[in-house]
Protein backbone atom coordinates (compact mmCIF):
# COMPACT_ATOMS: atom_id res chain seq x y z
CA UNK A 1 0.00 0.00 0.00
CA UNK A 2 1.41 3.36 -0.97
CA UNK A 3 1.77 5.68 2.00
CA UNK A 4 3.50 8.62 0.38
CA UNK A 5 3.27 9.60 -3.26
CA UNK A 6 5.24 12.63 -4.43
CA UNK A 7 4.53 13.61 -8.01
CA UNK A 8 6.24 16.22 -10.15
CA UNK A 9 7.04 18.33 -7.08
CA UNK A 10 8.64 21.66 -7.98
CA UNK A 11 9.54 24.27 -5.36
CA UNK A 12 10.93 27.73 -6.01
CA UNK A 13 11.95 30.21 -3.31
CA UNK A 14 11.29 33.89 -3.68
CA UNK A 15 12.80 35.42 -6.77
CA UNK A 16 15.25 32.58 -7.47
CA UNK A 17 14.86 31.39 -11.02
CA UNK A 18 16.43 28.02 -10.32
CA UNK A 19 13.96 25.80 -8.52
CA UNK A 20 15.12 24.16 -5.29
CA UNK A 21 13.16 21.08 -6.36
CA UNK A 22 12.54 20.33 -10.01
CA UNK A 23 9.92 17.73 -10.94
CA UNK A 24 10.65 15.33 -8.08
CA UNK A 25 8.70 12.05 -8.16
CA UNK A 26 8.92 9.12 -5.78
CA UNK A 27 6.68 6.93 -3.69
CA UNK A 28 7.00 5.08 -0.43
CA UNK A 29 5.01 2.08 0.73
CA UNK A 30 3.75 1.70 4.29
CA UNK A 31 6.42 0.28 6.57
CA UNK A 32 9.20 0.72 3.98
CA UNK A 33 12.32 2.84 4.28
CA UNK A 34 13.52 5.16 1.58
CA UNK A 35 16.87 6.89 1.71
CA UNK A 36 17.27 10.28 0.08
CA UNK A 37 20.87 10.98 -0.64
CA UNK A 38 22.65 13.97 -2.10
CA UNK A 39 25.03 16.78 -1.28
CA UNK A 40 23.98 19.91 0.60
CA UNK A 41 21.81 22.12 -1.58
CA UNK A 42 20.54 19.18 -3.61
CA UNK A 43 17.01 19.56 -2.24
CA UNK A 44 16.86 16.80 0.37
CA UNK A 45 15.66 18.97 3.24
CA UNK A 46 13.27 20.90 0.99
CA UNK A 47 11.73 17.55 0.04
CA UNK A 48 11.31 16.66 3.71
CA UNK A 49 9.77 20.03 4.57
CA UNK A 50 7.40 19.74 1.59
CA UNK A 51 6.16 16.38 2.88
CA UNK A 52 5.63 17.95 6.33
CA UNK A 53 3.88 20.94 4.76
CA UNK A 54 6.47 23.09 6.56
CA UNK A 55 7.87 25.01 3.60
CA UNK A 56 8.15 28.75 4.28
CA UNK A 57 5.24 30.82 3.03
CA UNK A 58 7.34 32.49 0.33
CA UNK A 59 7.97 29.13 -1.38
CA UNK A 60 6.08 28.53 -4.61
CA UNK A 61 5.02 24.91 -4.88
CA UNK A 62 3.59 22.92 -7.78
CA UNK A 63 2.96 19.20 -8.14
CA UNK A 64 1.37 16.95 -5.56
CA UNK A 65 2.30 15.33 -2.27
CA UNK A 66 -0.16 12.71 -1.12
CA UNK A 67 0.37 11.31 2.37
CA UNK A 68 -1.98 8.65 3.79
CA UNK A 69 -4.75 9.93 1.55
CA UNK A 70 -4.22 13.63 2.33
CA UNK A 71 -3.18 16.13 -0.32
CA UNK A 72 -0.49 17.96 1.64
CA UNK A 73 -0.16 20.86 -0.79
CA UNK A 74 -3.91 21.55 -0.60
CA UNK A 75 -4.42 21.27 3.16
CA UNK A 76 -5.10 24.24 5.45
CA UNK A 77 -2.69 25.10 8.26
CA UNK A 78 -4.93 23.48 10.88
CA UNK A 79 -5.37 20.38 8.72
CA UNK A 80 -1.59 20.09 8.42
CA UNK A 81 -1.11 20.66 12.15
CA UNK A 82 -3.37 17.69 12.87
CA UNK A 83 -1.19 15.42 10.71
CA UNK A 84 2.16 16.67 12.00
CA UNK A 85 3.37 14.78 15.02
CA UNK A 86 0.57 12.24 14.59
CA UNK A 87 0.60 10.74 11.07
CA UNK A 88 3.99 12.10 10.10
CA UNK A 89 6.81 13.17 12.39
CA UNK A 90 10.30 14.46 11.91
CA UNK A 91 13.72 13.90 13.47
CA UNK A 92 15.89 16.93 12.89
CA UNK A 93 19.53 17.31 12.14
CA UNK A 94 20.57 19.52 15.03
CA UNK A 95 19.92 17.89 18.39
CA UNK A 96 21.67 20.78 20.15
CA UNK A 97 19.15 23.39 19.05
CA UNK A 98 16.01 21.45 18.15
CA UNK A 99 14.66 21.38 21.73
CA UNK A 100 13.23 24.37 23.58
CA UNK A 101 16.02 25.39 26.01
CA UNK A 102 13.56 26.72 28.60
CA UNK A 103 11.39 23.63 29.01
CA UNK A 104 12.07 20.27 30.66
CA UNK A 105 12.38 17.62 27.95
CA UNK A 106 9.74 15.36 29.50
CA UNK A 107 7.17 18.09 29.04
CA UNK A 108 8.27 18.62 25.46
CA UNK A 109 7.74 14.93 24.69
CA UNK A 110 4.43 14.93 26.56
CA UNK A 111 3.29 17.86 24.46
CA UNK A 112 3.27 15.67 21.36
CA UNK A 113 0.85 13.34 23.12
CA UNK A 114 -1.33 16.10 24.45
CA UNK A 115 -1.55 17.97 21.16
CA UNK A 116 -3.03 14.97 19.41
CA UNK A 117 -4.54 12.58 21.92
CA UNK A 118 -5.51 15.11 24.56
CA UNK A 119 -3.76 12.96 27.15
CA UNK A 120 -3.96 13.79 30.86
CA UNK A 121 -0.69 14.78 32.50
CA UNK A 122 -0.42 11.72 34.80
CA UNK A 123 -0.69 9.00 32.15
CA UNK A 124 1.22 11.21 29.70
CA UNK A 125 4.18 11.27 32.08
CA UNK A 126 4.18 7.48 32.33
CA UNK A 127 4.02 7.14 28.55
CA UNK A 128 6.84 9.65 28.14
CA UNK A 129 9.11 7.81 30.55
CA UNK A 130 8.32 4.50 28.82
CA UNK A 131 9.11 6.02 25.43
CA UNK A 132 12.37 7.56 26.68
CA UNK A 133 13.42 4.13 27.95
CA UNK A 134 12.46 2.61 24.62
CA UNK A 135 14.80 4.90 22.66
CA UNK A 136 17.64 3.70 24.87
CA UNK A 137 17.93 6.37 27.55
CA UNK A 138 19.20 4.58 30.63
CA UNK A 139 17.72 6.88 33.26
CA UNK A 140 14.43 8.01 31.68
CA UNK A 141 12.97 9.52 34.86
CA UNK A 142 15.94 11.79 35.37
CA UNK A 143 16.12 12.68 31.67
CA UNK A 144 12.44 13.63 31.64
CA UNK A 145 13.12 16.18 34.38
CA UNK A 146 16.25 17.56 32.73
CA UNK A 147 16.55 20.68 30.63
CA UNK A 148 18.11 20.20 27.18
CA UNK A 149 21.40 21.83 28.20
CA UNK A 150 21.86 19.17 30.87
CA UNK A 151 21.90 16.39 28.25
CA UNK A 152 24.55 15.28 25.77
CA UNK A 153 24.04 15.46 22.02
CA UNK A 154 23.30 11.75 21.78
CA UNK A 155 20.80 11.96 24.64
CA UNK A 156 19.06 14.91 23.04
CA UNK A 157 18.81 13.13 19.71
CA UNK A 158 17.19 10.20 21.50
CA UNK A 159 14.72 12.59 23.12
CA UNK A 160 13.89 13.95 19.66
CA UNK A 161 13.49 10.39 18.44
CA UNK A 162 11.09 9.76 21.32
CA UNK A 163 9.10 12.86 20.33
CA UNK A 164 8.91 11.60 16.77
CA UNK A 165 7.78 8.10 17.70
CA UNK A 166 5.52 8.54 20.72
CA UNK A 167 2.33 8.91 18.67
CA UNK A 168 3.19 5.85 16.53
CA UNK A 169 3.20 7.80 13.24
CA UNK A 170 2.85 6.15 9.83
CA UNK A 171 5.88 8.01 8.53
CA UNK A 172 9.02 9.24 10.29
CA UNK A 173 11.17 11.68 8.37
CA UNK A 174 14.77 11.69 9.52
CA UNK A 175 16.75 14.67 8.26
CA UNK A 176 20.42 13.78 8.73
CA UNK A 177 19.64 12.60 12.24
CA UNK A 178 23.18 11.57 13.07
CA UNK A 179 25.29 14.11 11.19
CA UNK A 180 25.82 16.33 14.23
CA UNK A 181 26.82 13.42 16.47
CA UNK A 182 30.27 11.94 16.81
CA UNK A 183 30.88 8.63 15.10
CA UNK A 184 30.52 6.24 18.03
CA UNK A 185 27.30 7.87 19.20
CA UNK A 186 26.15 7.91 15.57
CA UNK A 187 26.36 4.11 15.37
CA UNK A 188 24.36 3.49 18.55
CA UNK A 189 21.69 6.06 17.64
CA UNK A 190 21.36 4.52 14.17
CA UNK A 191 21.05 1.01 15.61
CA UNK A 192 18.37 2.30 18.01
CA UNK A 193 16.53 4.04 15.19
CA UNK A 194 16.58 0.82 13.19
CA UNK A 195 15.24 -1.09 16.16
CA UNK A 196 12.40 1.27 17.07
CA UNK A 197 11.32 1.67 13.44
CA UNK A 198 11.22 -2.10 13.14
CA UNK A 199 9.17 -2.37 16.34
CA UNK A 200 6.67 0.33 15.40
CA UNK A 201 6.35 -0.64 11.75
CA UNK A 202 6.53 3.00 10.70
CA UNK A 203 7.75 3.94 7.26
CA UNK A 204 10.83 6.13 7.09
CA UNK A 205 12.14 8.78 4.77
CA UNK A 206 15.82 8.93 5.66
CA UNK A 207 17.79 11.91 4.45
CA UNK A 208 21.56 11.83 4.43
CA UNK A 209 24.62 12.78 2.47
CA UNK A 210 26.28 9.60 3.65
CA UNK A 211 25.64 6.51 1.52
CA UNK A 212 27.15 4.23 4.15
CA UNK A 213 24.64 5.44 6.75
CA UNK A 214 21.71 5.13 4.34
CA UNK A 215 22.68 1.58 3.43
CA UNK A 216 22.46 0.61 7.11
CA UNK A 217 18.91 1.80 7.54
CA UNK A 218 17.14 1.76 4.17
CA UNK A 219 16.00 -0.68 1.52
CA UNK A 220 15.43 1.83 -1.29
CA UNK A 221 17.39 4.92 -2.25
CA UNK A 222 16.83 7.98 -4.40
CA UNK A 223 19.86 10.05 -5.37
CA UNK A 224 19.29 13.78 -5.65
CA UNK A 225 21.40 16.31 -7.47
CA UNK A 226 20.58 19.99 -7.98
CA UNK A 227 16.91 19.56 -7.08
CA UNK A 228 16.34 16.53 -9.33
CA UNK A 229 16.26 12.81 -8.72
CA UNK A 230 19.00 11.32 -10.86
CA UNK A 231 18.73 7.71 -9.81
CA UNK A 232 16.34 5.40 -7.94
CA UNK A 233 16.76 1.81 -6.87
CA UNK A 234 17.33 -0.66 -4.09
CA UNK A 235 20.41 -0.17 -1.92
CA UNK A 236 21.93 -3.41 -3.21
CA UNK A 237 21.41 -2.49 -6.90
CA UNK A 238 22.78 0.97 -6.38
CA UNK A 239 25.98 -0.37 -4.86
CA UNK A 240 26.37 -3.15 -7.42
CA UNK A 241 25.50 -1.23 -10.50
CA UNK A 242 25.37 2.56 -10.21
CA UNK A 243 24.20 4.26 -13.43
CA UNK A 244 24.59 8.00 -13.05
CA UNK A 245 28.21 9.23 -12.87
CA UNK A 246 27.37 11.12 -9.66
CA UNK A 247 26.10 7.91 -8.05
CA UNK A 248 29.22 6.07 -9.20
CA UNK A 249 31.26 8.69 -7.41
CA UNK A 250 29.20 8.35 -4.22
CA UNK A 251 29.54 4.57 -4.24
CA UNK A 252 33.27 4.68 -4.83
CA UNK A 253 33.71 7.20 -2.03
CA UNK A 254 31.64 5.04 0.35
CA UNK A 255 33.54 1.81 -0.33
CA UNK A 256 36.64 2.53 1.67
CA UNK A 257 37.73 -1.12 1.86
CA UNK A 258 37.99 -1.21 -1.94
CA UNK A 259 40.64 1.51 -1.93
CA UNK A 260 44.27 0.51 -2.47
CA UNK A 261 46.47 1.40 0.51
CA UNK A 262 48.87 4.22 -0.26
CA UNK A 263 46.69 5.52 -3.07
CA UNK A 264 44.62 8.68 -2.97
CA UNK A 265 41.01 7.96 -1.89
CA UNK A 266 38.38 8.36 -4.60
CA UNK A 267 36.19 11.49 -4.51
CA UNK A 268 32.91 12.22 -6.27
CA UNK A 269 34.59 14.68 -8.65
CA UNK A 270 36.64 11.81 -10.14
CA UNK A 271 33.40 10.51 -11.64
CA UNK A 272 31.16 13.50 -12.01
CA UNK A 273 32.06 17.07 -12.93
CA UNK A 274 29.13 19.46 -12.63
CA UNK A 275 29.21 21.70 -15.71
CA UNK A 276 30.09 25.19 -14.66
CA UNK A 277 27.07 26.81 -16.36
CA UNK A 278 24.46 24.75 -14.55
CA UNK A 279 26.12 25.05 -11.18
CA UNK A 280 26.58 28.80 -10.90
Amino acid sequence: MTLLEVCDLTVTFGRHRRPALDGVCFSLDAGCRLGVIGESGSGKTVTALAVMGLLPEYARVSGTVELAGHQITQLSESGLARLRGDVVSMVFQEPMTALDPTMRVGRQVAEVLRLHAGAESGPARAAVVRMLAEVGLSDPDRVADAYPHQLSGGQRQRVILAMALINAPDLVICDEPTTALDVTVQATVLAKLDEVLEASGAACLFISHDLAVVSQVCDQVVVMLDGRIVETGSVADLFANPQHPYTKGLVAAAQLDAATPGQRLPVVEDFYQPDAGAKR
Partner: protein, 320 residues
Protein backbone atom coordinates in the same frame (compact mmCIF):
# COMPACT_ATOMS: atom_id res chain seq x y z
CA UNK B 1 28.15 29.49 46.01
CA UNK B 2 28.32 31.28 42.69
CA UNK B 3 24.89 32.73 43.32
CA UNK B 4 26.13 34.32 46.54
CA UNK B 5 29.10 35.74 44.65
CA UNK B 6 26.83 37.16 42.02
CA UNK B 7 24.57 38.77 44.62
CA UNK B 8 27.60 40.30 46.37
CA UNK B 9 28.94 41.65 43.09
CA UNK B 10 25.54 43.04 42.25
CA UNK B 11 25.34 44.70 45.68
CA UNK B 12 28.77 46.23 45.14
CA UNK B 13 27.68 47.72 41.82
CA UNK B 14 24.53 48.93 43.54
CA UNK B 15 26.40 50.75 46.31
CA UNK B 16 28.97 52.29 43.97
CA UNK B 17 26.21 53.49 41.60
CA UNK B 18 24.27 54.97 44.49
CA UNK B 19 27.27 56.87 45.90
CA UNK B 20 28.30 58.01 42.42
CA UNK B 21 24.78 59.20 41.71
CA UNK B 22 24.62 61.07 45.02
CA UNK B 23 27.83 62.98 44.18
CA UNK B 24 26.58 63.84 40.71
CA UNK B 25 23.20 64.95 41.99
CA UNK B 26 24.80 67.12 44.66
CA UNK B 27 27.30 68.75 42.29
CA UNK B 28 24.72 69.43 39.61
CA UNK B 29 22.18 70.94 42.00
CA UNK B 30 24.92 73.13 43.48
CA UNK B 31 25.83 74.30 40.00
CA UNK B 32 22.29 75.54 39.40
CA UNK B 33 22.17 79.32 39.24
CA UNK B 34 19.97 80.98 41.86
CA UNK B 35 19.72 80.56 45.57
CA UNK B 36 17.02 79.40 47.95
CA UNK B 37 17.80 82.18 50.43
CA UNK B 38 17.17 84.72 47.71
CA UNK B 39 13.92 82.99 46.78
CA UNK B 40 12.78 82.95 50.40
CA UNK B 41 13.54 86.60 51.11
CA UNK B 42 12.36 87.99 47.79
CA UNK B 43 13.99 90.59 45.54
CA UNK B 44 13.92 93.34 48.20
CA UNK B 45 16.35 91.57 50.55
CA UNK B 46 19.75 93.09 51.24
CA UNK B 47 22.90 91.01 50.61
CA UNK B 48 23.47 90.98 54.39
CA UNK B 49 20.08 89.44 55.06
CA UNK B 50 20.68 86.81 52.35
CA UNK B 51 24.10 85.97 53.81
CA UNK B 52 22.62 85.67 57.27
CA UNK B 53 19.89 83.28 56.08
CA UNK B 54 22.45 81.24 54.14
CA UNK B 55 24.50 80.85 57.32
CA UNK B 56 21.35 79.88 59.21
CA UNK B 57 20.53 77.17 56.62
CA UNK B 58 24.11 75.93 56.62
CA UNK B 59 24.65 76.93 53.01
CA UNK B 60 27.88 78.83 53.74
CA UNK B 61 29.79 75.73 54.79
CA UNK B 62 32.30 74.12 52.38
CA UNK B 63 30.58 71.99 49.74
CA UNK B 64 32.25 68.78 50.87
CA UNK B 65 30.89 69.28 54.38
CA UNK B 66 27.43 70.01 53.04
CA UNK B 67 27.60 66.89 50.85
CA UNK B 68 28.72 64.59 53.68
CA UNK B 69 26.11 66.06 55.99
CA UNK B 70 23.37 65.49 53.39
CA UNK B 71 24.41 62.03 52.23
CA UNK B 72 25.06 60.83 55.77
CA UNK B 73 21.50 61.69 56.67
CA UNK B 74 20.15 60.19 53.43
CA UNK B 75 21.77 56.89 54.34
CA UNK B 76 19.68 56.69 57.48
CA UNK B 77 16.55 57.71 55.59
CA UNK B 78 16.60 61.40 56.53
CA UNK B 79 16.34 63.47 53.37
CA UNK B 80 16.35 66.78 55.25
CA UNK B 81 13.79 69.58 55.47
CA UNK B 82 12.52 71.70 52.61
CA UNK B 83 13.95 75.20 53.07
CA UNK B 84 10.83 76.68 51.54
CA UNK B 85 7.93 74.95 53.26
CA UNK B 86 9.71 73.63 56.33
CA UNK B 87 8.20 70.17 55.74
CA UNK B 88 10.53 67.18 55.81
CA UNK B 89 11.48 66.10 52.32
CA UNK B 90 10.33 62.56 52.99
CA UNK B 91 6.84 63.75 53.94
CA UNK B 92 6.69 65.62 50.63
CA UNK B 93 7.98 62.63 48.68
CA UNK B 94 5.94 59.73 49.99
CA UNK B 95 2.40 60.78 49.00
CA UNK B 96 3.70 61.76 45.57
CA UNK B 97 5.65 58.56 45.22
CA UNK B 98 2.35 56.63 45.26
CA UNK B 99 1.03 58.65 42.31
CA UNK B 100 4.19 58.09 40.26
CA UNK B 101 4.33 54.40 41.17
CA UNK B 102 0.77 53.88 39.93
CA UNK B 103 1.48 55.81 36.77
CA UNK B 104 4.76 54.03 35.99
CA UNK B 105 3.65 50.56 37.07
CA UNK B 106 0.35 50.62 35.21
CA UNK B 107 2.03 52.10 32.14
CA UNK B 108 4.66 49.36 32.07
CA UNK B 109 1.92 46.73 32.31
CA UNK B 110 -0.15 48.57 29.72
CA UNK B 111 2.73 48.89 27.29
CA UNK B 112 3.46 45.16 27.58
CA UNK B 113 -0.21 44.29 27.05
CA UNK B 114 -0.11 46.35 23.87
CA UNK B 115 3.36 45.48 22.63
CA UNK B 116 3.41 41.70 23.07
CA UNK B 117 0.32 40.84 21.00
CA UNK B 118 1.17 43.54 18.46
CA UNK B 119 4.75 42.28 18.25
CA UNK B 120 3.47 38.73 17.72
CA UNK B 121 1.33 39.87 14.82
CA UNK B 122 4.21 41.92 13.42
CA UNK B 123 6.53 38.90 13.58
CA UNK B 124 4.17 36.18 12.34
CA UNK B 125 2.61 38.28 9.58
CA UNK B 126 5.79 40.13 8.67
CA UNK B 127 5.36 39.28 5.01
CA UNK B 128 1.73 40.36 4.75
CA UNK B 129 -0.12 43.63 5.19
CA UNK B 130 -1.12 43.02 8.84
CA UNK B 131 2.50 42.85 9.95
CA UNK B 132 3.54 45.84 7.88
CA UNK B 133 0.63 47.82 9.32
CA UNK B 134 1.69 47.04 12.89
CA UNK B 135 5.33 47.91 12.20
CA UNK B 136 4.37 51.14 10.45
CA UNK B 137 2.05 52.17 13.29
CA UNK B 138 4.83 51.50 15.78
CA UNK B 139 7.18 53.70 13.75
CA UNK B 140 4.59 56.47 13.68
CA UNK B 141 3.95 56.03 17.41
CA UNK B 142 7.64 56.42 18.19
CA UNK B 143 7.65 59.75 16.41
CA UNK B 144 4.93 61.15 18.70
CA UNK B 145 6.34 63.10 21.66
CA UNK B 146 4.63 62.05 24.87
CA UNK B 147 3.46 65.58 25.77
CA UNK B 148 1.84 66.02 22.38
CA UNK B 149 0.08 62.68 22.69
CA UNK B 150 -1.15 63.74 26.13
CA UNK B 151 -2.46 67.08 24.93
CA UNK B 152 -4.18 65.38 21.99
CA UNK B 153 -5.82 62.89 24.37
CA UNK B 154 -7.05 65.74 26.59
CA UNK B 155 -8.53 67.55 23.60
CA UNK B 156 -10.36 64.49 22.31
CA UNK B 157 -11.51 62.72 25.46
CA UNK B 158 -11.84 65.60 27.94
CA UNK B 159 -12.70 68.65 25.83
CA UNK B 160 -14.70 67.25 22.90
CA UNK B 161 -16.16 63.99 24.14
CA UNK B 162 -16.16 64.96 27.84
CA UNK B 163 -15.68 61.32 28.86
CA UNK B 164 -12.77 61.84 31.24
CA UNK B 165 -11.45 64.58 33.51
CA UNK B 166 -8.77 66.67 31.82
CA UNK B 167 -6.40 66.64 34.77
CA UNK B 168 -5.99 66.20 38.51
CA UNK B 169 -5.80 63.19 40.79
CA UNK B 170 -7.88 61.51 43.47
CA UNK B 171 -6.19 59.00 45.80
CA UNK B 172 -7.29 55.38 45.44
CA UNK B 173 -8.31 55.19 49.10
CA UNK B 174 -10.62 58.17 48.69
CA UNK B 175 -12.61 57.15 45.64
CA UNK B 176 -11.49 54.20 43.50
CA UNK B 177 -13.77 55.03 40.57
CA UNK B 178 -12.62 58.62 40.41
CA UNK B 179 -8.99 57.49 40.86
CA UNK B 180 -9.32 55.25 37.84
CA UNK B 181 -11.02 57.94 35.74
CA UNK B 182 -8.19 60.36 36.48
CA UNK B 183 -5.47 57.82 35.70
CA UNK B 184 -6.87 56.37 32.46
CA UNK B 185 -5.60 59.05 30.11
CA UNK B 186 -2.11 59.50 31.59
CA UNK B 187 -1.58 55.73 31.77
CA UNK B 188 -2.85 55.12 28.24
CA UNK B 189 -0.76 57.98 26.86
CA UNK B 190 2.43 56.72 28.48
CA UNK B 191 1.62 53.07 27.60
CA UNK B 192 1.05 53.80 23.93
CA UNK B 193 4.24 55.79 23.57
CA UNK B 194 6.29 53.14 25.39
CA UNK B 195 4.58 50.31 23.50
CA UNK B 196 5.53 51.88 20.18
CA UNK B 197 9.18 51.52 21.19
CA UNK B 198 8.71 48.05 22.67
CA UNK B 199 6.89 46.57 19.66
CA UNK B 200 10.06 46.72 17.59
CA UNK B 201 12.03 44.82 20.22
CA UNK B 202 9.27 42.25 20.67
CA UNK B 203 9.08 41.77 16.92
CA UNK B 204 12.84 41.38 16.55
CA UNK B 205 13.05 38.91 19.44
CA UNK B 206 10.16 36.85 18.07
CA UNK B 207 11.46 36.85 14.49
CA UNK B 208 14.65 35.40 15.92
CA UNK B 209 12.59 32.69 17.61
CA UNK B 210 10.81 31.94 14.31
CA UNK B 211 14.19 31.07 12.81
CA UNK B 212 15.15 28.80 15.69
CA UNK B 213 15.22 25.04 15.30
CA UNK B 214 13.04 24.51 18.36
CA UNK B 215 10.30 26.58 16.77
CA UNK B 216 10.45 24.30 13.74
CA UNK B 217 10.31 21.31 16.09
CA UNK B 218 7.22 22.79 17.74
CA UNK B 219 5.59 23.17 14.33
CA UNK B 220 6.62 19.63 13.39
CA UNK B 221 4.87 18.10 16.40
CA UNK B 222 1.61 19.80 15.49
CA UNK B 223 1.58 23.33 16.91
CA UNK B 224 0.09 25.99 14.70
CA UNK B 225 2.26 29.12 14.28
CA UNK B 226 0.53 31.15 17.01
CA UNK B 227 0.48 28.21 19.44
CA UNK B 228 4.14 27.41 18.85
CA UNK B 229 5.05 31.04 19.43
CA UNK B 230 3.01 31.31 22.65
CA UNK B 231 4.24 28.03 24.06
CA UNK B 232 7.87 27.99 23.00
CA UNK B 233 8.54 31.51 21.72
CA UNK B 234 7.55 34.00 24.40
CA UNK B 235 9.71 32.64 27.19
CA UNK B 236 12.76 32.48 24.94
CA UNK B 237 12.06 35.94 23.57
CA UNK B 238 11.62 37.21 27.14
CA UNK B 239 15.30 36.51 27.82
CA UNK B 240 16.31 39.35 25.51
CA UNK B 241 13.20 41.45 26.17
CA UNK B 242 13.79 41.69 29.92
CA UNK B 243 17.02 43.61 29.25
CA UNK B 244 15.15 46.10 27.12
CA UNK B 245 12.43 46.43 29.76
CA UNK B 246 15.05 47.19 32.40
CA UNK B 247 16.53 49.90 30.21
CA UNK B 248 13.10 51.29 29.48
CA UNK B 249 12.26 51.87 33.12
CA UNK B 250 14.33 55.03 33.15
CA UNK B 251 12.68 56.30 29.99
CA UNK B 252 9.27 55.54 31.48
CA UNK B 253 10.23 57.58 34.56
CA UNK B 254 11.25 60.49 32.35
CA UNK B 255 8.02 60.06 30.40
CA UNK B 256 6.10 60.03 33.68
CA UNK B 257 7.57 63.40 34.68
CA UNK B 258 6.30 64.89 31.42
CA UNK B 259 2.92 63.17 31.63
CA UNK B 260 2.46 64.33 35.23
CA UNK B 261 2.88 67.93 34.20
CA UNK B 262 0.58 67.56 31.16
CA UNK B 263 -2.19 66.02 33.29
CA UNK B 264 -1.35 68.00 36.41
CA UNK B 265 -0.81 64.89 38.52
CA UNK B 266 0.76 65.47 41.96
CA UNK B 267 3.57 62.97 41.46
CA UNK B 268 7.35 63.03 41.87
CA UNK B 269 7.72 64.67 38.49
CA UNK B 270 5.70 67.73 39.29
CA UNK B 271 7.36 67.94 42.72
CA UNK B 272 10.73 67.87 41.03
CA UNK B 273 9.84 70.54 38.50
CA UNK B 274 8.47 72.90 41.16
CA UNK B 275 11.44 72.31 43.44
CA UNK B 276 13.90 73.05 40.63
CA UNK B 277 12.05 76.24 39.74
CA UNK B 278 12.18 77.40 43.37
CA UNK B 279 15.75 76.21 43.98
CA UNK B 280 14.53 74.04 46.84
CA UNK B 281 17.68 72.01 46.47
CA UNK B 282 17.15 69.45 49.23
CA UNK B 283 13.82 68.49 47.70
CA UNK B 284 15.45 68.24 44.26
CA UNK B 285 18.26 66.08 45.63
CA UNK B 286 15.88 63.87 47.58
CA UNK B 287 13.54 63.33 44.63
CA UNK B 288 16.33 62.51 42.19
CA UNK B 289 17.92 60.15 44.74
CA UNK B 290 14.58 58.37 44.96
CA UNK B 291 14.34 58.05 41.19
CA UNK B 292 17.92 56.75 40.99
CA UNK B 293 17.16 54.25 43.71
CA UNK B 294 14.06 53.06 41.83
CA UNK B 295 16.04 52.56 38.59
CA UNK B 296 18.83 50.71 40.41
CA UNK B 297 16.44 48.42 42.26
CA UNK B 298 14.54 47.60 39.08
CA UNK B 299 17.68 46.86 37.08
CA UNK B 300 18.90 44.57 39.86
CA UNK B 301 15.54 42.77 39.74
CA UNK B 302 15.90 42.47 35.96
CA UNK B 303 19.32 40.93 36.41
CA UNK B 304 17.93 38.26 38.67
CA UNK B 305 14.84 37.63 36.57
CA UNK B 306 17.10 35.95 33.99
CA UNK B 307 17.57 33.19 36.49
CA UNK B 308 13.82 32.62 36.61
CA UNK B 309 13.36 32.74 32.84
CA UNK B 310 16.40 30.86 31.58
CA UNK B 311 17.27 27.50 33.16
CA UNK B 312 20.75 27.68 31.60
CA UNK B 313 21.54 30.64 33.87
CA UNK B 314 20.59 28.56 36.88
CA UNK B 315 22.98 25.84 35.79
CA UNK B 316 25.84 28.30 35.71
CA UNK B 317 25.01 29.42 39.20
CA UNK B 318 24.69 25.95 40.60
CA UNK B 319 28.35 25.70 39.74
CA UNK B 320 27.99 23.20 36.92
Amino acid sequence: MQLAGRILKRLGVFVVSLVGASVLIFVITQALPGDVAQTLLGTQATPDEVAQLRAQLGLDRPLIVQYLDWFGHVLVGDFGVSHLSGDSVISLLLPRLAVTMWLVGLSMVGSLLLAVPAGMVAALKRRSWQGVLVSASAQAGMAIPVFWGGILAVMVFAVWLRWLPANGYVPLSENPASWARHLVMPVVTLSVVQAAVLIRYVRTALVEVLNEDYYRTARAIGWRPMGALLRHGLRNAAISLVTVLGLQVSSVLVGAIVVESVFNLPGLGSLLLTAVAQRDLLVVQGTVMFLVLAVLVISALVDFSYVLIDPRQRAVQEGR
